[in-house]
C-alpha cells in the first residue's frame, strides 16, 4: 500500500526527508 500527498505550500517549503528514507508516523517531513 502507498500514501500519496499532494498539497499547496509556499515556495519556501523545505523537505526534511530524502528518497528511500524510512519514516515513522509523526516524524518531520517538511516545514
Amino acid at each position: 500500500s502507498s500514501i500519496v500527498l499532494v498539497f499547496e505550500a509556499p515556495d519556501d517549503f523545505v523537505w526534511k526527508v530524502h528518497a528511500g528514507q524510512k519514516v515513522k508516523y509523526g516524524e518531520v517531513m517538511g516545514d
Partner: protein, 380 residues
C-alpha cells in the same frame, strides 16, 4: 534434440468444438472486461489503452486474489498457534512487537487482526512542524507538481486530474449521501473546533491563508495562472471552483510506501480540514518500488480514496492507494466507505464522491490535527 527439432514434422489437428467454443468465450470475456490499462490524455481523462505490461498484469485476477487473501487472513487461528505464528511473521517482516498496544499475542484472533494492530500511546512523538509523516513506511519519491503532472518515479509521470478526479460531461460523478454512521465519530461543533482532542487549535491553524487566497482573485498585480497549471488544477479540484492561486505557492507531492511488516494505520500529517472523499474503484496491482518503477500510471490505475481539503496554505489532499495484499482502505470518520468489493469495475476515471460538510458547519469538513488516526489498510 537438434534432430528432433529439425526433423519432426508438424501435424495440425482440429480442436474439439467444445474446447474451441470455451476458448472463444474466455477470449471474449477478457476483451470485454479485462482490458485493464488506462491511458490518461492531456486533459486528465482516463481511458483504456494498451501497454503490454499492464495487459499481462491485468490478466491476473488480482482483485479476486486480494479478497481471497483477506478471507484467509480473517480466519480465526488456534490460540496456541498465535504467539508462534505472529512471532514468525514479525521476524520475517521486521515488526517491532514492543510497540504494540496489546502485548498479548493470543489476543489477536487472526493474521488480519494482528496486521491492523494499534500502537502504544506515545511511541510515535508528533513533531511540531508543518508536515509530518502520515504513516510508517519508506519515502519513495517527492517533489513539486509540474505542468499538472505528478512524477511517479524519475521520468514517469501521471496526471494530477486523473489521480484526484475531475467532474466533466465525459466523466460524470456519482455523488453518494454521507452520514456519520459511527456514533463515536467526532462531530466538531462550531464552538469546539478550537479544542480538538484537548489540543488547542485556532481557526487559522485549519484555514489560515484561505481568505488571502480568495482575496488575490482579480488582483492585476498577480500573474494569472493558465487554466491548465497544476496549482489551479489542485485548488479547483479541492474547492470545486476556479479559485485563483497565489503568486508564491506551489503544489508539492510525496509518496510513502508501506511494506508488509509496517504498522498499517495512517494518521493526519497536519492540521487540515477534509472536505470530501473520492473513491476510485480500480485495479489492485502491487505498489512496491519494483512495480512502481516499471508500471506507468500505477497510482491512477489502482483503487484509492482521495481525501481532499484545505490547510492553512491552501489545497491539501491525502490519497491512500490500495494494493493486492492490502486492498481494503478504512477511513475512521467515514463508515459508509466500502473498498475492494466484489463486482465489475466501473469505467476508468470514474469515482463516487461524498462530502463531509456536515462534520463542522463552520469548517465545512472534517477537521484533523497532526498525528490523529485517520484509518488504515487491511489485508485483502
Amino acid at each position: 534434440l537438434a534432430d528432433a527439432w529439425r526433423d519432426t514434422p508438424t501435424k495440425w489437428y482440429p480442436l474439439p468444438i467444445g474446447i474451441g467454443a470455451l476458448l472463444l468465450v474466455v477470449l471474449n470475456y477478457r476483451k470485454n472486461y479485462s482490458s485493464k490499462e488506462v491511458v490518461v490524455d492531456g486533459d486528465g481523462n482516463a481511458r483504456r489503452g494498451g501497454r503490454w505490461g499492464v495487459h499481462v498484469l491485468g490478466a491476473l485476477p488480482l482483485r479476486n486474489l486480494s479478497r481471497l487473501w483477506g478471507y484467509l487472513n480473517s480466519l480465526t487461528l488456534p490460540v496456541w498457534f498465535r504467539p508462534y505464528g505472529f512471532r514468525l511473521y514479525a521476524w520475517v517482516f521486521g515488526c517491532n512487537l514492543d510497540e504494540m498496544a496489546e502485548q498479548d499475542l493470543k489476543h489477536y484472533t487472526s493474521l488480519g487482526d494482528f496486521f491492523y494492530r494499534s500502537l502504544k500511546d506515545g511511541v510515535r512523538p508528533i513533531a511540531s512542524t508543518a508536515l509530518v509523516s502520515p504513516a510508517d513506511g519508506k519515502i519513495l519519491h517527492f517533489g513539486t507538481v509540474e505542468g499538472a503532472r505528478v512524477e511517479q518515479v524519475k521520468g514517469i509521470t501521471y496526471s494530477l486530474d486523473a489521480l484526484l478526479g475531475s467532474s466533466s460531461p465525459s466523466n460524470p460523478v456519482e455523488t453518494v449521501p454521507f452520514t456519520h454512521g459511527n456514533p463515536d465519530a467526532r462531530k466538531v461543533s462550531d464552538e469546539q473546533f478550537a479544542d480538538v482532542n484537548g489540543i488547542p487549535y485556532s481557526l487559522d491553524d485549519f484555514l489560515g491563508r484561505i481568505s488571502q487566497t480568495r482575496s488575490v482573485e482579480g488582483d492585476a498585480s498577480v500573474p494569472s495562472a493558465s487554466p491548465s497549471s497544476a496549482l489551479d488544477v489542485g485548488v479547483r479540484v479541492a474547492l470545486g471552483s476556479k479559485e485563483a492561486p497565489t503568486k508564491s505557492s506551489r503544489l508539492f507531492f510525496c509518496v510513502i510506501y508501506l511494506a508488509p511488516g509496517d504498522y498499517h494505520r495512517f494518521h493526519s500529517p497536519t492540521a487540515w480540514v477534509v472536505e470530501r472523499r473520492r473513491h476510485f474503484s480500480g485495479e489492485l496491482f502491487s505498489v512496491s518500488p519494483f512495480v512502481a518503477q516499471r508500471l506507468q500510471d500505477l497510482f491512477v490505475l489502482n483503487e484509492r480514496v482521495a481525501l481532499l481539503g484545505r490547510w492553512r496554505y491552501g489545497f491539501f489532499s491525502m490519497i491512500p492507494v490500495g494494493a493486492t495484499n492490502v486492498g481494503s482502505i478504512k477511513i475512521n470518520f467515514d463508515q459508509a466507505l466500502r473498498t475492494n468489493v466484489r463486482g465489475r469495475l466501473p469505467p476508468p476515471g470514474t469515482f463516487r464522491e461524498a462530502t463531509y460538510s456536515g462534520a463542522s458547519t463552520l469548517l465545512s469538513g472534517q477537521p484533523l490535527v497532526p498525528g490523529e488516526e485517520m484509518g488504515g489498510f487491511c489485508l485483502g
